[in-house]
């Protein structure tokens, strides 16, 4: 057996596996196994040791990794595939933008912290999808996590320093409510 033959096929299968990252693991394994069987039985029909040119020809008739992967659609069918693709592309960017906003608003710890949480979550989701810009997703995750921690620290600090005054804050709020509400 020629080792080059395996290399070509293995590389093809590894590429295909990467392209099918979004597929259900069982379905992905099923696709990969049947593609492998297809090539192996094609080569077995030659009745002579297969050369790497034979493997290349078998892979050629299978179609490119992109073509095969494109035949896979998410479970709910082709109808949602197009918007589904447009939406996740914005996910990483949204994470990055929210992370940047949270840095700008760091002097408002509760706001910055909440933005950081959202940026963190969006960034993680985006990172797990293959078609997302990685740098933006990573920015979302790293900066989001930082502002969450910073926000919490500042918030805790503020609670410790201003705790005695919070009572007066509540009474002024309480006063403002009846001032607005008088009605005929």
């Amino acid at each position: 057996m020629i080792t080059g033959r395996h290399e070509l096929l293995e590389r093809y299968l590894a590429d295909l596996e990467r392209r099918l990252a979004a597929a259900d693991p069982g379905e992905r394994a099923d696709i990969l196994a049947s593609v492998r069987e297809h090539v192996e039985s094609e080569l077995a029909m030659l009745d002579r040791p297969a050369t790497s040119a034979d493997v290349a020809a078998a892979l050629e008739s299978l179609g490119s990794v992109d073509t095969v992967a494109a035949a896979w659609t998410p479970e709910d069918g082709g109808a949602t595939a197009a918007p589904g693709r447009a939406h996740p592309a914005g996910l990483a960017v949204a994470a990055g933008v929210l992370a940047a906003l949270s840095v700008l608003l760091i002097w408002l710890p509760p706001v910055a912290g909440s933005l950081g949480v959202v940026a963190l979550v969006l960034g993680i989701v985006a990172l797990r999808r293959r078609d997302e810009p990685r740098w933006a997703a990573l920015t979302g995750v790293v900066v989001g996590a930082t502002t969450v921690v910073l926000g919490l620290v500042v918030l805790l600090g503020a609670l410790v320093v201003f705790a005695p005054h919070s009572e007066t804050g509540r009474t002024t709020d309480g006063v403002s409510v009846p001032a607005v509400s008088p009605a005929p």
């Binding site: 099923d30 593609v35 039985s41 179609g63 095969v68």
Partner: protein, 118 residues
Amino acid sequence: MAPEVAAVERTELLTHLRRGTLEYCLLATLRGAPAYGQELARSLGGGTLIDSEGTLYPLLARLRRRGWVETFWRDSPHGPPRRYYSLTLDGHRAVETFTEVWGPFAAAVTRCLEGDPR
């Protein structure tokens, strides 16, 4: 418009049309007898329904997951045993339903294209 643009449009159109129909062609091919991957590829090949053999496998995996086809192994005169695909009862029902819907649908599309919708 440049001919290569028209070719891209044709390819995209084919991709759209295959989505949602090709899987039933696969099922229909299996109605008579179980078949293995290369057999299916050969009977559907020709460039209109599939453009390369490998595109069948994601579809077959999906049909299997849906419970419309099941697989079993059978020895081959050449090389390793082959994975055969056969229709389940649900698979048979799915082709029947598709056939009922497809007939009037295809006829209506043809009428439209010929300028006589209704």
